[in-house]
Amino acid sequence: MIVYVLRRLASAIPTLFIIVTLAFFMIRLAPGGPFSLERPLDPLIMQNLERAYNFDKPLWQQYLIYIGNLLQGDLGPSFTRRDFSVGDLFRTGLPVSIALGSLAMSIALVVGVLLGALAALRQNSWVDYTVVGTATLGITIPTFVIAPLLSLSFGVMMGWLPAGGWGTWQHMVLPVATLALPQIAIVARLTRGATIEALRSNHVRTARAYGLPARVVVGVHALRGAILPVVSYLGPTAAALLTGSVVVETIFGIPGIGRYFVQGALGRDYTLVMGTVVVIACFVIVFNLIVDILYAWLDPRVRYD
């Protein structure tokens, strides 16, 4: 297994390299640059700026310089936030996004699996219909509707929680809820479907035929198999949640890194966009690896080496 993990990590290097290369050249295809303003700068200042940031060199040289810096762990300076390097921005923003994302993930996992399993066990009862109905609603309503609604009702009208901002645990409740709700819905639906299938499987019939109590039949023999599709769903989802959400961070005014990708792209902040791409790619690679390891642990039929 250790050999497998090392092999997977080794194969991540070329993947990352390809992603970085593609992203580097694609962002440069967009017209304009970090210093293009509505009122053009004085040509001399522009020249000096371009020289300072190596923009006067041919693109392939800039690319090599970027890769060289990246290999030393330097993500470069941010062009739009002049006093910060991209590394600084992530050092302060990433913990915030990870805190929000991991909390939302854990809640989605626990609540979603519980609701899904409950619905499956009470299939075609009112419990089932309620869970499925709410889940469908939860999936269809986008976060940019839920977020302002929550902020308005609990924050502004009732005043129970801060409507936005960052600092105390109260600040986390509404954004975490916004992030978790759709995930709860999806996880519940996945769990419900997989559990219903597992309950009909032959080995669950065997467990029942041997007089095992319901908690063993369900908890031991049905749920472990039913959790597998949830695990594979959670891999890429975790990567997306932990790297922050543009909508949630913007609406609740949270200093995470989710905003950087869109802001960086709009401001042609090349290094910021590249930094975000690198961080997200690393998260996706790591979480896919975690999922594969979890999968092998849950299902002995899966063996990698």
Partner: protein, 541 residues
């Protein structure tokens, strides 16, 4: 001496509510089981034999409902709550299922699954239960049980998994063992081993067995009494000896007569070879991937030479994994192989896709699974004429339809079925559709890969008759792949016995059946056709 009834079933009914309304699967049956006796319930698929037992065990699907009475030592089981049932299930009454491959939980070691019922019902400590589990594995003939107890189900073969199920069934020394087609999914030699084992254990431990099966050959050798079920009703019951000697109900007589009969006469000696394979080898790579170099090779077929003449039927027999299907596919150039393959005097060993295409319509294949091999989204007419549209795209539609009606009539179906979908048909009818699909192209060679294995005996007989009629009408050559020796005997004039990818023995059918030379062939024949009972001492006291 009349013993008291252990299990007493009276007027048991099972209903399923479906989209098409309520379906009655079991229509009021009576049944008695006395201690230490073996009772067989015989019937074809859909007769309700399994559902009756599921109802007794409280294992019906969610849309099923049981009524009537089934009592175990005076305790009513129908309508008994889950906790009441759980005191009896797995402890007093245990069950072995038809599907050894899926009846164990794939995610847990077999030891844990064996131990669970013992710990639960008898409160055994983990260590004691494990020791007992090893004993049980030893008892059911699992080699090296101390190590095997930590295997996962997928690390065991089908036969071994069924042995584990039997061990689980015996763990709490039950009064009643219900065996639902326990050997149907297994090879004949393993089937014989499992049944002998069950019979031995019964005489050792003295439990009663309810044996559900469609195979009368097994019943004759295994059961004391027989219930014959048809369409949810018991049509006849008797002691095994008298039932086989004087079946009174016409359905029982039909079942008994349903063994395929007749023999295929060999083609004239001067009939030319049509499809020939010389030194055919097929190797599969196992494992390996982008970053791993460790690749194992599995020789599925090793140096096989076959010559199929016009009008001939070669039966290829062997157990699962023997390479018989792979050989059939290799001869049709459907899997890559080494060696020489000739069709109609022409070397096709290296013919690529484009060169093979015009030959494909002369080389047809019929599969085992009549449920999986027909597209559920195409009408029967579309399925049957698909080959015509590929191979003769210029044929006008009305001529295609005409040909379809012709071939459907030939396989014994009403041409009006062309507009219906496969799910509306029974297994036997679907296999007729699959045969029609092959026949419409007027092939020279048809490879029949276990075409009757998924069918009931009486339907098997009809399909065998149909295939033989088609062969004599059109001068076809068959490669008939099967593990069912009774069917092969009726179909083939020449037999090849395969084991582990090699041809073990070959020769004319009668010679192979009457005087097999190789030990393996002998054991195969003995397992399939021997009529001696599995049990030495009749349990009837």
């Amino acid at each position: 001496m009349e013993k008291q009834s252990l299990l007493k079933v009276r007027n048991l009914r099972v209903e399923f509510s479906t989209n098409d309304g309520v379906v009655e699967a079991v229509k009021g049956i009576d049944l008695d089981l006395r201690s230490n006796e073996t009772v067989a319930i015989v019937g074809e698929s859909g007769s309700g034999k399994s559902q009756a037992m599921m109802a007794i065990m409280g294992l019906l699907a969610a849309n099923g409902r049981a009524s009537g009475s089934a009592s175990y030592r005076g305790q009513e089981l129908i309508g008994l709550g889950e906790s009441g049932l759980n005191r009896i299930r797995g402890s007093k009454i245990t069950m072995i299922f038809q599907e050894p491959m899926t009846s164990l939980d794939p995610l847990y070691r077999i030891g844990r699954q064996l131990v669970e019922p013992m710990v639960h019902h008898r409160g055994l400590a983990a260590r004691a239960a494990r020791a007992r589990a090893i004993e049980l594995l030893e008892l059911v003939g699992i080699p090296d049980p101390g190590r095997r107890i930590d295997s996962y189900p997928h690390e065991l073969s089908g036969g071994q998994r069924q042995r584990v199920m039997i061990a689980m069934a015996l763990a709490n020394e039950p009064d009643v063992l219900i065996a639902d087609e326990p050997t149907t999914a297994l090879d004949v030699t393993i089937q014989a081993q499992i049944l002998t084992l069950l019979a031995d254990l019964q005489s050792k431990l003295g439990m009663a067995i309810v044996f559900i099966t469609h195979d009368l050959g097994i019943v004759r050798r295994f059961a004391d009494r027989v219930y014959v079920m048809r369409a949810g009703e018991v049509v006849e019951q008797d002691h095994t000896g008298s039932l086989f000697a004087n079946p009174s109900h016409p359905y029982t007589r039909m079942l008994l007569a349903a063994q395929p009969t007749g023999r295929k006469t060999p083609p004239p000696p001067d009939s030319p070879p049509l499809l020939e394979g010389r030194d055919v080898n097929v190797t599969f790579r196992i494992g390996g991937g982008w970053f791993s170099r460790s690749v194992d090779e599995l020789r599925a077929v090793a140096n096989a030479s076959v010559s199929l003449r016009r009008g001939q039927t070669i039966g290829i027999v062997g157990e699962s994994g023997s390479g018989k299907s792979t050989l059939g596919r290799a001869l049709l150039r459907l899997v890559p192989s080494r060696g020489t393959i000739r069709f109609e005097e022409r070397d096709i060993s290296d013919a690529d896709k484009n060169h093979m295409r015009p030959l494909r319509k002369r080389l047809q294949l019929v599969f085992q699974d009549p449920f999986g091999s027909l597209s559920p989204r195409m009408t029967v007419g579309q399925i049957v004429t698909e080959g015509l549209r590929v191979h003769m795209p210029k044929m006008p539609a009305h001529e295609r339809d005409l040909r379809a009606s012709e071939v459907l009539r030939e396989v014994g179906l009403d041409p009006a079925v062309a507009n219906r979908y496969p799910h509306e048909f029974s297994g036997g009818q679907r296999q007729r559709i699959a045969i029609a699909r092959a026949m419409i192209l007027k092939p020279g060679v048809v490879v029949l890969d276990e075409p009757t294995s998924a069918l009931d005996r009486s339907v098997q007989k009809q399909i065998v008759d149909l295939l033989r009629d088609l062969q004599s009408a059109h001068g076809l050559s068959y490669l008939f792949i099967s593990h069912d020796l009774a069917v092969v005997r009726a179909m083939a004039d020449y037999i090849i016995v395969m084991r582990a990818g090699r041809l073990v023995e070959e020769g004319p059918t009668d010679a192979i059946f009457d005087s097999p030379r190789e030990d393996y062939t002998k054991s195969l024949m003995a397992a399939a056709l021997d009529g001696t009972p599995f049990r030495n001492t009749p349990a009837r006291a």
